[in-house]
Every structure is written in C-alpha cells, then in structure tokens.
C-alpha cells in the first residue's frame, strides 16, 4: 500500500488544517469574557456553496445589523397593555357605538380593562400594571398604537405577520432577510426560530417558500418551549470525537477521489465544503447554545430559575447569544397562549408574568453590551383583541387595531406612534399596516422593500406584495 500517494498527503494536510482550526477555536473559547469568546468563534472563511444572494445590497446604509422578533402568539390585548382608553374605562358595560366587523363572536358590549394604567418614564407613556418591567424600559421603546392587519382568524393573521400574505405560501421575513443579506457568521444559520408553533401554518411561518431552501429558519425547541435547546442532527450519537473525525476525513477522501477520477465538479466540491462547514457548525453552535456559560447574575436578570419566567428567560438569553454570534434574524415565540376568548384576567396575567421580566432583561443586556444600537427588537402579536367582551370575561380577535413596539437602532425611543379610536378598536390616526411594519424592518436593515425581489412562476415577488410604506415618522 502506498501511503505516500499525493491524494493521501493532501488528505492528511486537510486533517491538520482542521485540527489547527479546532485548536484556534478552543483557544478563543478559553480566552475569557463570554462576549469575546462568542465573537471569537465566528468563522468567515468559506462562502456557502449554493448561496446566490441578490446584488446591490444593502440598498442604503443600514441602521441595524440584526433583528430579534418577540412573537406574542395568540393576540395580546392592546387595551390591557399599552393602549390606555379612559373612554373605555368610563363606559364599561355600555354598547359599542359603531358596527363591529363581520364574523366576530364578541358582543357589542364594552369591557374595561381590569388592570390599572400608569404613566411611566420621562416620556410619560401609559403602561398597565401587567408589565412592570417593560414599564421601566418605556423610554427605550417606540410603541406603534395604530397597527392593523389582515386575517380575522389566527391562521391568516399569523401568516400575514410572518410572510406578508394571509392566504398564499410566501417566504417569511427572516427568510427574506437571509436571502437579502446572507450570513454574517458562516458557521451558523442566518435565521433561527426558537420555540415555533406547529399550528397556524407551522413551518410556513419560518419557511423559505420559493426562495432557496437554505433561507428557512433553523429551529430550536417547539411550541413556545425551548426544551433541551438543541439543533437537529447537530451532534453525533457517537460521542467518540476521534472516531467521528476519522470517518469525516474518509468521506472527504472518497470525495476527493471522485474529483481525481472524474475531473472537477462544482457539486462534489460544494459537497466537500458543506462537510467542512457542518463540521465547524458542530463545534461552534453547541458553544452558542450553552447557556451555562452565562454568569449567575445574568441568568437571574432574565428570570432563569424562577418557574414563571424560566422558559422565556432562557429563550431571550439564547436569542441574545445567537445575535451576538452573528445570526441575523432571531424569532422567539411564546406559543399560542395569548388567545383569551375567556379568562382574560388569569390568562393575560400568566403570559405577562412569563414574558415581562425576560424581555426587559433582554433590552438591558443588549444595551449593556452596546448591541442595542445596531439591533432591532420587535414585539408583536398577530393581532390585538376587541375592547368588547366575549362571553363574560374574554375578548375576541382584532386585526383592525392593535399595538406593537420596536426598540433599538434607527428607531426613535420613548415615543408612541399613531392611535386607535376612543375605545381602542380600530386604528384611526397614522395607521400602520403590517406591510408597513415589514417595509420598516427591511429599511432599517438597509433593504428597500420594493427592490428585494425574487422571480418565481413568472413574477417578481417581494415581502410587501404591492403595498408597504416605510414609517418614516418613527425613524431617527
């Protein structure tokens, strides 16, 4: 047997390069400060083999590099959280003085918020007692109080929120961002969805639709739960790393032998590159996913260890670690828990408790790391809820008017934008459609929403379909 054949020498060299790479990663991992070590793990050497991102991006100077979207699935009630309506409080039990949209189960009877509202911060914005932690951050938020969207049922509205279409299969916002901007860290996916729901469209809401499949989200956990915080197939069943390494170099040697025997082939070299990338992901990603690397005080800040806040606290902290490691678009989901057709008081109290502290902690943490300036945080449900009562203590779906908030780079802080009518039912002043929110998110990332298009089935598609307007009024 000839151990000195050129092929095998080259292969041995490959192994050495990989070992060096690994040592380097290890070194940086041991380097100390968590932020530093995560940054040190970012790999930018190889281009993904099948990425073909559109040219000319960014279209303008981006204000933010990354987005974290906090999805309040089910439809949190605007009039019980941010949209204080004295008229609603006053006319509790009275009749709604205008027609309701069709297909609504709520009665036409007004129901006041069971919670107290107070003005907070220097900006003096109203926040209900449900969100004490968020209230302390109010000077950093831009609350849009005039959101409206399409879809009277969850499926339509959730799809609208994620893909800009309430009926057709379209790429999700994160997929568009991945397609438009590509990866920042080639060892990690560009788009990660934590705890996505399997209902109401499930993977469609983080899917790539007709965009190349690589732009769909990598998922961690499901149904609003982080679970064990792992990525499928990230790690081998076999814990013998030496053996796994050896098998990998055999695969690569077989592949090189193909190239040698059949001549150059982009697919085969692409496949080899993919194995290299995968092998680096296997080392890098588990580090990012490991929350135990965070200090006790950080974990406490997020409410980790307290039963009410533990799950969402972990999600938020993992979200921050992913952003820090170079993931462009992270979505966190509560699962479909905000849907209080009945039991508003109990349900909203539980949900607010579970998310309030972790979300405030995320804002604090991002700020203290200097990341809030170039990160966009978006908080929204698929719709809001009616100010009228359903049953005896619930509220029905309301895409006609609701709140979302933004925080971070490029967005004015401590303001609210737009308003609903006197009861909080319809968005009335400076209305912001879901398409407008999408246009604004893309704008902040340096993308012109009308120019990021993809040709499929004979048409140039875009996230905002034929609509969308950047909400200039809220930009810095």
């Amino acid at each position: 047997m000839n151990f000195g054949s050129p092929l095998l020498q080259e292969n041995d060299l490959r192994l050495k390069v990989m070992q060096i790479h690994r040592r380097d990663s290890l070194k940086s991992m041991l380097a100390g400060g968590v932020g530093l070590s995560l940054a040190g793990l970012t790999g930018r050497t190889l281009e993904a083999s099948t990425s073909a991102n559109p040219v000319g991006l960014p279209h303008h100077e981006p204000k933010v590099k990354r987005v974290i979207f906090l999805f309040m699935h089910g439809g949190p009630s605007q009039v019980d959280l941010f949209d204080y309506k004295p008229e609603l409080q006053k006319r509790d039990g009275g009749e709604l003085p205008f027609e309701t949209p069709s297909n609504i189960d709520a009665q036409r009877k007004l129901m006041k918020s069971p919670w107290q509202f107070q003005q907070h911060g220097e900006s003096g914005q109203w926040v209900s007692e449900l969100l004490p932690y968020t209230a302390r951050k109010i000077d950093e938020l831009c609350v849009i109080k005039s959101m409206h969207s399409r879809g009277q049922s969850h499926g339509q509205a959730v799809s609208m929120l994620h893909t800009g279409s309430d009926n057709l299969v379209r790429p999700s916002v994160g997929a568009w961002v991945s397609y438009g901007l590509g990866k920042e860290n080639h060892d990690l996916p560009a788009f990660v969805s934590i705890g996505p729901s399997s209902g109401h469209g499930g993977p469609r809401n983080y899917g790539a639709a007709f965009l190349p499949a690589e732009h769909q989200a990598t998922t961690i956990g499901r149904q609003g739960k982080l679970g064990k915080a792992t990525i499928e197939h990230l790690q081998s069943q076999d814990k013998d790393t030496e053996r796994n390494e050896r098998r990998l170099s055999l695969i690569q040697a077989f592949n090189e032998s193909r190239l040698q025997e059949f001549g150059p082939d982009k697919r085969v070299s692409g496949m080899m590159e993919a194995y290299d990338l995968a092998s680096r992901m296997q080392r890098v990603a588990p580090q990012v996913l490991d929350l135990s690397q965070e200090s006790k005080s950080t974990q406490t800040l997020y409410g980790i260890g307290k039963s009410e806040t533990d799950n969402f606290g972990r999600q938020c902290l993992l979200g921050r670690r992913l952003l820090e490691a170079g993931v462009r678009y992270v979505e966190l989901s509560t699962g479909n828990v905000w849907d209080q057709h009945g039991g508003l008081k109990k349900g909203h109290e539980k949900n607010a408790l579970a998310t309030d502290q972790p979300i405030a902690a995320l804002l604090t943490d991002l700020k203290s790391r200097g990341m809030l300036d170039d990160t966009l945080v978006v908080w929204s449900g698929e719709f809001g809820r009616t100010p009228t009562v359903q049953g005896s203590n619930g509220r029905d779906h309301n895409p006609q008017g609701f709140c979302c908030w933004l925080a971070g780079g490029g967005v004015q802080s401590g303001i609210s934008h737009g308003a609903t009518d006197d009861f909080g039912y319809h968005a009335a002043v400076d209305r912001v459609h879901m398409h407008d929110l999408h246009a604004t998110i893309l704008h902040l990332l340096g993308i012109h929403h009308e120019q990021l298009t993809y040709r499929f089935a004979g048409r140039d598609f875009r996230l905002t379909d034929i609509a969308g307007r950047v909400v200039d009024e809220i930009l810095v």
Partner: protein, 952 residues
C-alpha cells in the same frame, strides 16, 4: 384581435365639459386651485400621476380625464355626485384608504365633497399619458411566440459523424453540437450506465444479480432487455408516479392554517402509481384529473379511478379557517387555476387574477373565464367547526359483498344498540325501586349547590357517580383558603348518621378535613377521597352525632393540608331510627332481578364491542370534487378583490391558444369536462410539449426548456426546439405512452454518454446545454432512504395503503401543548410514506423533496451543510450502516477484498475503483475501533460520500 380593458371611454369627459357654465367655472377653478390641486399634488401624485414609477390601481389624478376615466375600479369621481364618487369614499377610508399614510383632516375631505358637488371643475383638460400605464394585449402577436405555435414534425437532421447516432434523438443532438464544432464525449462505462438506468427508471440501485448479468455481457440485446425489465417493473410505476405527485402537489394533509388530515389522499397516490405502471395514455390521465367525475365508464373500478383522479383539484393548501368564505372560495379557485396552468401547460395563470398578465398574452378576462368553470365546481363543503371550512368527498363504488356486509353490520349494530338502551333503562328502573336507591331518599340530602362556599371551587361532571347536577372541587389550588359549609336544621332531636357524598378516585386527597358541629361540640374527621365510598359508590358515613332541633347542624369541608383534589358532592344526614327501619325493607327478589338484568347488559356490551371490532371496512370515499349546485359565468374581480366585481365573462379557455374547434360548455354544466378535453387535445400547443420536456428532464438531468414549469415569456427558450417538437409529435402518435417515450430517450446514445469532465468542451459550453456529456444528477431523498433500507435488506417492496389512518381530523392541534405528529414507521418505499404538510421528516426537508405546497416539475438541487449534518449525525444513517456491516459479517466472506466488493455493491450498486479500494484499506488498517465497528464506519462514510449521493 385586441382585447380592451373595461374602462370608461374618454368621450365621457368631452360630453361633460360643456355642461359647466362659465361663471361657476371661474369660481370653481379658483376653488380647485386653492383647495384641491395642492392636496392632490402633495398626497396623490406620487402613485397616481404620469410621473409615478409604479402607477397604483391604474388611476391617474393629474388630469381631469384621468379622474373621470378612473382606474381599475372605474371612474374616480362622478361630477355633482359626491356619494357616487370612489375618490371621496377613499378619502373617507370607506372603501380604499387613501392616502395610505393616514386619513386627511375632516375639513380637507369636506372640501373635496364640496368640489365634487360643484361639478368638479378642473382646468387640467389634457390627459397625461403615463409610460407605466398598462398596455393592451395583442393576442395575434402573442400567438407568434414559439410555445403557442403547434409542434410540427421535422426531418431528422443529417450529421457529419454518421456512425455516432444510435437513435433519431441523437441526430438532433449531434447536429447542434456539430454546429458549435463540438463532439460528444465517450459513452459511460457499463457499470455506471447500469446504475444510472436503475435509478432513473425505478429509483432503486441495480440488484447484484442484474449488475452481474449486464456488466460483462457483450450482446446489446442484454442491455435492451435490462431496460425493458426495469420499465416493466412495479418500481417503475412508483418512481415515475412520484414525479407526477410532485407536479400534483400531493399531500396527506391540508397544511395551511388548519392542518386537517386528508385521510383519502392515498387513493390518488396509488391511482397515479398504477397509471404509470399500466402506461395509461397521458391525455386520458389529464382528462381524468380535471373531470374524471364527469366521464362515462363501464366498470366500477374505472369509475373509482376517475373519481379519485379529480383529487388533483383538491390538494391545494387551503386557509380553511378564513372567516370570509367568499374570499376563501376565490382563493381556492385561484389555487386550482394556478395548478392546472402550471402542471399541464407550463403557464402562470395566477398573474392574471389581478391584472392582465404582464408578460404572457393572458388577459384578466381569460382568467375569469376559467374561474367561472372552477366556481361552478364544488371543492369546499360546509364547516368542520365554526368558521373552519370542510371539503368535498365522493363516495366510491363498492363491491356488492362489501356494501351488503356494511348493511348487515349497520343493522346488527343498531339492533344491539337499541336493546342496550332498553335494558339500561330497565335496570335503572329496577335500581330506583330497590332499597339501595331508596337510600338517597332517607333523611336530609344537601347538594353542593345548597352549600356556602369559600374560595374558588370548580364545578365538574367528569366522574359520573354524583348527586344533583354535578360536584365541585378545589382544583388543588390555594390550600387552606377554600371551604364548603353545609348548614341545616334537623326535624327532631336525636342521633343521626352524617354521610359525605363524593366520587372517589385516584389523585384525590386521602386526608380531607371535615368538621362537624353537633349538640355535644365539634368533631373533626379526615376523609380518604382516593377510593370510592362504600354506599352506592358515593356516600361515606363520617360517624353518628347527636343534633338538636333548634340548633343548626354544621358540616365544614376544607382543603387545608389536603394532599390531592378535594371533592364535595353532597351531604346526607339520616336519623339512626330511620336507618334501622329501612334495613328491614330489603327485597331479595328485586335484588335477583337486578343481578340478572345487569348480566344481560354486560353480555350485550360484549357483543357490541365484538361486532365493532370485526366491522367491515368503512364505505370508501375519495378526496374529489363534484359539480356545484349552481353553474354559471362569473365576473372579473377588479384588482383580484372578490368584492369589487366588474363585467361578467363567459366561461372559456385561454384565447391565445388556438386549437381550431373549441369544446363547448353546456349551460347546465360547470365546463370542467370541456376544459379537460381542451387541455388534453392533441392540437394544444403546450400540453404534450410540457410533459415530454419533464420526462426528458428526469432522464437527462435538464429539460430542453430548462424552466420546466414556465413555457411563457419569462421562461427559458428550448435548447433543441426541433427535438422538443419531434418528441411531442411522436409521443402523441404513440398514443401518449410514457413508457414508449422513456424507452426512446434511454436508448439514445445521448442518454448513455459519460458524465466525465472535459476541459476543452467545458470551456465552450460550461452549462452543458448542448449535451456534450451526461449531466450528473443528485440522488433524490426517496432514493437515499430506499437504498439505505435495501442495503441492509430491510426494504419491503409492497404497495402502501392508507398512511394516516391513525390521525384525527387535524394532524396537529392549534394548541400550545400539541406534541406533534406521531407516525408509525414502516419499511415500505418512501413514496408510500405520509406527506404531512408542515411536518415533513428531516430527510425530505434536507434533501430537496418537492414542496407539497406548490406544483413542482423540477426539484431544487441544493448543497448545504444541513445535508452534511444529516449524513454525519442522523441516527438513521448510523443504524443502516451498522446493519449493513452486520450483513457483511454474517455472510462470512473470507477476504477483505471480497467483503469490500460486496460493501460497494450493496451501497453503490457497483464494485469499488482501485483508488476507492486503496482508501478503504488504509482506513481499515488505521482504525482502532473493533472490526465490525470499523466496517460500520466505512459503510457510513460510503453512504455520505459523493459517489453515493450522485448519479454519474
């Protein structure tokens, strides 16, 4: 002929102009200049003027004619009539919401109202033409496009290298190569060709026996009979059926917002597989899928197949919970038209829903002519639950025996159920008579509803043994804070037995504290509620106490320190004298009767259970459409808005496609049958071309038209237009036979070329458009799994049945705690595995399985790290590698070489090359794992290698 958009003609403006009198005119113009023009310029011109880069809604407001002519929604204003003016509606946010950035102040809107009432005076008389204004479609010019020209037979071209072609196909290919001064590479090596043929025709590797037979044969006859053997196999139907299932967006669930199970979809899947196995002529296959339910048939089996075939129209992912049902209906129609257009004709019809197709000669009126047909077809049918639509199903013909056995079963079942019911009521009557039942009539009974409760107690009827309308429990919440207090005055002084009623069972507290206030003070007892109470399974005696007539008896149950649920149903207080009296009333005869009735009841229940277990299979039903109750033409929906109806359009087909005589649509029919016949007509320029192009693509690796689902202007042009024509014409001549077509292509020398790289040729044609070599193709997800199973001898080659019988109405619930789909795992071929939308297994997601939400004639070919991770770390690959290694060891091969050769044959369908042998041996010698483990690693590496994942 030109098709003109419906719009108000310019002359209206001319008629209207003189009507404005001069004086009013001056004032009016001033008003316009001061109040109206600035608003239009500031808020509207960006999107509605000649300078707008993207003109919205076809509306121009920068001239009077523009406003009067209006846009897609008709005239923007009607002079003197504010109430009829869309412009004002839009400003008021009543129909449109303009301007989109927010409603204008009320006084501005009032100005517009006034202005329109004045007659909308406007000095801007000249129509400004926008360069972005929609163009009119010229159908005659459109027909000149290559794809709308009927395919013609061509003379087989002469070539210089006369000894190269083996088939007429090769002449067309070589001709183009020679024109570019190129020559084809060598033929593929025999081993490679054998593997290529096996996967291309059946999706499986060649068997070791086939490999051995064909590899060393010198007689060409052997290769040909190998090809015939593959084409005639059951696996051919499965592999080629799957290609069509991609096109049909086949799925076993709805996906969308409401992931309902398609329990009957599998019948369509199996019908397709059988159609390809039996080589059903493609034109018939097309007709069945659009209108199978409307065809006359002679046999039940054919009728069943025809009904099932219309499943094609049903597979679209629907937003079933859309509350606006008219919108949903039009969305479903749209999905069906898109699918028909793309699947059969390579046309993108969806674009014409909102406006004339921007690139292809398809006016909106054509779209709604077709929409009228699909609207006259029933797809949605009632509701599964409030706001959630259900879909149509059609009963399938059954054998006489089956329907007879269903009848017998139904009769027997209802007989048993009736007797069960009567015996149950008889038993209840007897029990009521019995002294046991009389127990409840003793003394004083206080229901939970009569008690005073402290804290939040939940009402329940979950356990059935209760008194009154149910019972209450503490929900195991707020220990120590909840109480139930019964209070009553008894009729006389004396000794009483106190009994607490509760439905005892596991999970309930064993230490419920109960306080009894009686004449002699207070007593406290702990009650165990985890077991049924002794009397009538409901009543538990707590002891005997003395009570006085004028002093209230109080019993207080609390949840302090309780270690489970605390339940309260009722309280009974009976005097001891009364108890003694009733004990003497026992009636032995009645007890015996109860006993025997109970036995009858038990035996009936057993019988019922038994016949249910042996019930005949339910009446078969298909996922299929039917004719709607009402048929008729439909209206253009302006801008695709289903509530904004324009002119009515007669049902019909694409005007650009001219096939001579067009099938007629009878008034009382949907027109689907006519549509089906029109699509499948041999004069249709697209149907045969689109299909032969897909078949070519599956075998050659790329289509002659590379955009296989788009033959329109934005699609690619054919690399070999004459060959595409020839294939289409000959295909029709040969009775639309897929097997004939496949055989022609794989017999060509073009198909049998090597896929090796050649630098010089590559330089002049890097994309291999002229086919100087064979394209290297990736192995599909299905072939990867099937081969891994086959390598360990685990693959079962039987036909699959219903794959989702174990799933309910929904595959996953829209709840935060849904656990996901659980599917039974089987080792039948992947084509028979369930395709659950939104829940595809990782193998499918990672290895480019066709997205079942879309018509897909061409799968994506990606190379991404997730594939590498699946191969490296996926448990399935590791398991199969271990099994293959075990298989090699169980065969007892004596030498490494022999074992190695078999490993490669099982995994790759061919023996190893020298280089591969060398690499493998080096690996074997260096490993420190045990021997079988090392072979497992070797097999694993082979599965993950390019040699396995690619088809040379």
């Amino acid at each position: 002929m030109k098709i003109f958009l419906p719009r108000v003609v310019l002359t209206i403006a001319l008629l209207f102009a003189p009507a404005v009198d001069a004086r009013a005119n001056d004032e009016g113009i001033e008003f316009f200049e001061n109040k109206i023009r600035p608003v239009l310029v500031q808020h509207c011109y960006e999107c509605h003027s000649a300078d707008s880069t993207s003109l919205k809604g076809g509306l121009l407001v920068d001239s009077q004619p523009g406003l009067l002519q209006g846009g897609d929604s008709g005239p923007a204003l009607v002079a003197h009539k504010p109430a009829e003016s869309v412009l004002l509606e839009a400003l008021k946010f009543e129909s449109f919401e303009m301007p989109p950035e927010g409603k204008l102040p009320d006084e501005v809107i009032a100005d517009f109202e006034k202005w329109i009432a004045m007659g909308a005076p406007d000095p801007r008389k000249e129509m400004v033409v926008s360069e972005y204004a929609p163009r009119e479609i010229d159908l005659e010019a459109g027909r000149q496009f290559w794809a709308f020209q009927p395919p013609e037979e061509h003379v087989v071209p002469e070539v210089s290298q006369k000894d190269w072609p083996r088939h007429w196909i090769d002449h067309f290919i070589l001709k183009r190569l020679e024109e570019q001064k190129l020559t084809p590479v060598n033929d593929a090596e025999r081993g490679i060709l054998i593997r290529r043929l096996a996967y291309d025709l059946t999706g499986l590797p060649p068997s070791p026996e086939q490999m051995e037979r064909v590899l060393y044969a010198t007689d060409d006859q052997v290769l040909e009979s190998y090809i015939d053997e593959l084409i005639d196999s059951q696996q051919f139907g499965e592999h080629w059926g799957r290609h069509w299932l991609d096109v049909a967006r086949y799925a076993d669930s709805n996906g969308g917002d409401f992931n309902a199970t398609f329990h009957n979809a599998w019948r369509y899947r199996n019908m397709v597989i059988e159609a390809f196995r039996n080589d059903l002529p493609f034109n018939e296959f097309v007709i069945r899928q659009i209108a199978g339910d409307l065809l006359d048939t002679e046999h039940d089996a054919e009728r069943a197949d025809n009904l099932v075939a219309t499943g094609f129209l049903m597979f679209g992912a629907k937003m079933l919970s859309e509350r606006d049902k008219e919108k949903l209906r039009m969305d479903v129609v749209d999905e069906q038209l898109n699918s028909i257009g793309k699947a059969f004709m390579g046309m993108t019809l969806g674009c014409a829903r909102c406006h004339d197709h921007k690139f292809d000669p398809i006016p909106t009126t054509d779209y709604y002519a077709l929409a009228g047909i699909m609207r006259s077809t029933q797809t949605l049918d009632g509701e599964i639950q409030k706001y959630v639509s259900n879909w149509t199903r059609q009963p399938l013909p059954m054998t006489k025996e089956h329907s007879q056995s269903l009848k017998v079963y139904a009769a027997e079942k209802s007989r048993l159920e009736a007797s069960l019911k009567s015996i149950e009521s008889e038993l209840k009557k007897l029990q009521d008579q019995s002294s046991q039942s009389n127990i409840l009539n003793l003394g004083v009974v206080l229901d939970d509803a009569d008690a005073r409760v402290v804290g939040n107690w939940k009402h329940s009827t979950y356990s059935k043994n209760f008194i009154g309308k149910g019972y209450i429990h503490d929900d195991r919440q707020e220990r120590g804070k909840k109480k139930v207090i019964f209070e009553t005055n008894l009729p006389a002084d004396g000794e009483y037995e106190v009994r607490l009623a509760f439905p005892g069972s596991g999970g309930r507290a064993t230490n419920v504290p109960v306080k009894i206030v009686h004449a002699e003070g207070e007593s406290e007892v702990k009650v165990n509620q985890s077991k049924q109470a002794p009397i009538l399974t409901m009543l538990k005696p707590l002891g005997r106490f003395t009570f006085k007539k004028d002093q209230a008896a109080v019993v207080e149950i609390s949840n302090t320190g309780a270690n489970g649920y605390v339940i309260v149903d009722a309280l009974q207080i009976v005097s001891v004298d009364e108890l003694k009296e009733s004990a003497n009333k026992e009636n032995p005869e009645l007890a015996a009767e109860i006993e025997s009735t109970q036995q009858q009841l038990d035996s009936l229940k057993k019988d019922l259970k038994q016949i249910k277990e042996n019930a005949p299979p339910p009446a078969p039903r298909a996922l299929a459409v039917r004719e709607a109750e009402q048929q008729g033409d439909y209206f253009v929906c302006i801008r695709g808005e289903h509530r904004n109806l324009g002119e009515k359009v007669a049902r019909g087909f694409l005007s650009v496609v001219d096939i001579g005589e067009t099938p007629e649509i009878p008034k009382d029919r949907s027109g689907r049958l006519a549509l089906a016949k029109w699509v499948a007509d041999e004069r249709h320029p697209l149907t045969a071309r689109v299909y032969v192009n897909r078949v070519w693509q599956h075998l050659i690796g790329e289509g002659i038209v590379r955009s296989v689902d788009n033959f329109g202007t934005l699609g690619e042009r054919p690399t070999h237009p004459l060959l595409l024509d020839q294939l289409a014409v000959k295909f029709i001549e040969n009775n639309w036979s897929t097997k004939w077509l496949v055989k022609q292509i794989v017999s060509s020398r073009t198909y049998q070329l090597s896929s090796r790289h050649d630098e010089e040729r590559w330089q002049s044609d890097p994309e291999n458009r002229l086919l100087w070599r064979a394209h290297r193709k990736p192995l599909s997800a299905e072939s990867i799994r099937d081969t891994l199973l086959l390598a360990s001898n685990d693959l079962e080659l039987s036909m699959g049945g219903p794959p989702v019988d174990n799933l309910g109405t929904l595959v996953t619930q829209n709840k935060p705690d849904d656990a996901g789909v659980k599917l039974e795992s089987t080792n039948i071929r992947t084509v028979y595995q369930p395709v659950i939308r939104n829940e595809l297994p990782s193998l499918m997601r990672v290895f480019d399985f066709a997205d079942p939400d879309f018509v897909s004639g061409k799968r994506a070919h990606t190379t991404v790290p997730t594939q590498a991770l699946w191969m490296l770390n996926g448990p399935f690959v590791a398991e199969q590698a271990a099994k293959l290694s075990e298989r090699l060891f169980s065969k007892g091969y004596s030498t490494t070489d022999e074992r190695l050769e078999h490993l490669f044959i099982y995994a790759l369908g061919r023996p190893p090359s020298d280089l591969e042998t060398e690499l493998s041996k080096k690996f074997l010698s260096q490993s420190d794992a045990d021997e079988q483990g090392t072979w497992t690693d070797l097999a694993h590496a082979l599965f993950a290698s390019a040699a396995f994942r690619m088809l040379d």
